[in-house]
C-alpha cells in the first residue's frame, strides 16, 4: 500500500471559479475538518457542484488557493467522488469494484475477498456477476459507492447522489454513507432535500450565488438560523 499523507484539513482560501464568463464561486474561504458529515445546501446554480469538484481537485479555481493537508498539489489517492449519475464501466458488478481496488493499489491476491466484502457492505453481493449497466439506478449508485469505498478514502464527496432515486434506494444509500462516516471517513455531500440534510448532517453549509451564506453545526442551523436564506431553507421555503 502507498504512503498515506492526510488530505485533511482541506482548506479553500479566497477561491473564485468562473466558467463561460459568469462567476460560479465568489471568494469562498473555508476549511473542512475531520468529523460528522458536512452537507452543502443551496438553490440550483449556487455553485454546489463546482465547490465539490474543486475540493476533489477535478476543477481548478480561477483564483485563490486550495490545500489538502497543507499541500497545494495532491493526487486524489485518499479522496473519492460520487457523481449524481454514476458512470458504470462496461463490465460486471464485481469487475467495477475490482477496478477501483486496482487503481487504489490494493494487493492483487487480496482483491477477490475485498470485492466480496465491499459488495456485501452495499447489499449487491447477489449481483456480483451481472453486467453493471443492467442494474437499476439505485443499485448503480450503490455500486458506485462500493467502488468509491474501494479507494479506502479519507474524504468522500457526494454530489446529490440520491437526486434521481426513489425513497427505498435513497434510504439504503444514506445508510451506507452514514456507515462510512461512522467508520471515520469525512463525508462532504450536497443535497436539495431538507429531510436528508436533517438525517445526515453534522454541520450545514449554505451556499447562495457562489458564496457561503451560513455555516453552522446542524442543531444550530435548524434551531436558530441566522440568515433569511437559511431560515427559508429550514422552513422548507424556496430560496431565490
Amino acid at each position: 500500500m502507498r504512503a498515506a499523507l492526510s488530505d485533511l484539513p482541506l482548506t479553500l482560501d479566497d477561491v473564485s471559479f468562473r466558467a463561460g464568463g459568469s462567476a460560479i464561486l465568489d471568494h469562498v474561504s473555508l476549511s473542512i475538518e475531520p468529523g460528522a458529515p458536512t452537507l452543502i445546501v443551496g438553490p440550483n446554480g449556487a455553485g454546489k457542484s463546482s465547490l465539490l469538484r474543486i475540493c476533489m481537485g477535478l476543477a481548478r479555481p480561477t483564483s485563490g488557493i486550495v490545500t489538502w493537508g497543507g499541500r497545494t498539489e495532491s493526487r486524489p489517492l485518499r479522496r473519492a467522488f460520487l457523481f449524481q449519475r454514476p458512470v458504470m464501466l462496461r463490465r460486471s458488478v464485481a469487475a467495477n469494484v475490482a477496478y477501483g481496488l486496482r487503481q487504489a493499489g490494493y494487493p492483487y491476491g487480496l482483491r477477490r475477498n475485498r470485492v466480496r466484502e465491499l459488495l456485501d457492505r452495499v447489499g449487491l453481493l447477489d449481483h456480483a456477476d451481472r453486467a453493471a449497466r443492467s442494474l437499476s439506478g439505485g443499485e448503480q449508485q450503490k455500486l458506485a459507492l462500493a467502488r468509491a469505498l474501494a479507494r479506502d478514502p479519507e474524504l468522500l464527496f457526494l454530489d446529490e447522489p440520491t437526486a434521481n432515486l426513489d425513497p427505498a434506494a435513497t434510504r439504503s444509500v444514506e445508510e451506507i454513507v452514514l456507515g462510512a462516516s461512522n467508520s471515520g471517513i469525512k463525508v462532504v455531500m450536497s443535497s436539495h432535500d431538507l429531510g436528508q440534510v436533517k438525517r445526515l448532517a453534522g454541520e450545514v453549509l449554505l451556499l447562495v450565488r457562489g458564496g457561503v451564506r451560513e455555516r453552522a453545526a446542524a442543531p444550530v442551523f435548524f434551531d436558530s438560523p441566522s440568515t433569511p436564506e437559511a431560515a427559508a431553507f429550514v422552513r422548507g421555503d424556496l430560496i431565490l
Partner: protein
C-alpha cells in the same frame, strides 16, 4: 450458366490451387488487420485523449485517408520496396510480406479513425470518473480500449472487409505470382481477362461467402457479449 455450374464443381472438389489462393488471401488480410490494429488502436486512443496544435488537421487527414485508393498505396509501397527504393535492400517486393505491409497501410487509417471517434465519445462519459480514480494516461487508454471493445470489433471488421476485397495494392506489390502471391481478388481479375470464368466465379462466390460469414460471426459475438456487458 455453365460457368456458374462448373464454378461450384471447382469449389466442391476442393481444388488445391483454389484452396491455396483462399488461404493466402486470408493470411495476408488477417495479418494486415492485426498489424494495423496493433498500431491503429493505441494511435486512435491517444488522438482521442490528447490536445495539441495540429490535432484537428491530423484527424481530418486520418478521416480522409480512410478512402485511400488501394492502387496509390500499392504504388507508394512499390517505390519504397523496389530495388532502388529506400527499403530495397530487404528484397521483399513481390512477396506476401510486401502485400501485408501495403494492406496494413491501407487499413490503418480506417481502424485509427474509427477508434478515435469511438474512444472520444466514451472518454466524454468516463473522464470525471477516471480522473477521480486517479487513472494515469496509459491506464485511461487501456480502460477505454477495453470498454469499447465491441464497437472496436466493428472497426476491425471494416478494416478486414477493405483488405480482403481490394485488388490494386496486392496486385502492384505482390505481382500476382501463381502459387506465391496470387490472392482471390488478383486471381479473379486475371482469370476474367483470360476468359476462365468458372475459376473467377468460384473465387467470387468464396470471397462473398467469407465476408458474410465473418461479419455474421462478429455480429453474433457482439450481440452475445453486449448482452453480458450491458444486460
Amino acid at each position: 450458366m455453365t460457368e456458374g455450374l462448373s464454378a461450384w464443381q471447382l469449389i466442391a472438389s476442393g481444388d488445391a490451387a483454389l484452396l491455396a489462393i483462399v488461404r493466402l488471401s486470408l493470411v495476408v488480410s488477417l495479418s494486415a488487420v492485426t498489424c494495423a490494429a496493433l498500431l491503429g488502436l493505441p494511435l486512435g486512443a491517444s488522438l482521442a485523449l490528447t490536445r495539441f496544435p495540429g490535432r484537428t488537421l491530423l484527424i481530418v487527414l486520418l478521416n480522409g485517408f480512410m478512402g485511400l485508393p488501394p492502387v496509390v498505396v500499392g504504388l507508394a509501397v512499390f517505390l519504397l520496396l523496389s530495388r532502388s527504393g529506400p527499403l530495397g535492400t530487404f528484397g521483399i517486393l513481390f512477396t506476401p510480406l510486401a502485400m501485408i505491409i501495403a494492406q496494413a497501410l491501407l487499413v490503418l487509417p480506417i481502424i485509427a479513425a474509427l477508434a478515435r471517434q469511438t474512444i472520444e465519445d466514451l472518454w466524454r462519459e468516463y473522464r470525471d470518473e477516471l480522473t477521480a480514480m486517479d487513472v494515469g494516461p496509459v491506464g485511461r487508454i487501456a480502460t477505454l480500449l477495453w470498454d469499447s471493445r465491441f464497437s472496436l470489433l466493428t472497426a476491425l471488421l471494416a478494416g478486414f472487409g477493405r483488405a480482403i476485397a481490394e485488388v490494386g495494392a496486392v496486385m502492384i506489390v505482390g505481382g500476382n505470382i501463381n502459387g506465391f502471391t496470387r490472392t482471390m481478388t488478383t486471381a479473379i481479375a486475371l482469370e476474367t481477362s483470360k476468359g476462365d470464368l468458372p475459376l473467377a466465379l468460384g473465387l467470387g462466390y468464396i470471397l462473398i461467402v467469407l465476408v458474410l460469414v465473418i461479419n455474421a460471426g462478429a455480429w453474433g459475438l457482439r450481440v452475445w457479449s453486449e448482452q453480458r456487458a450491458n444486460g
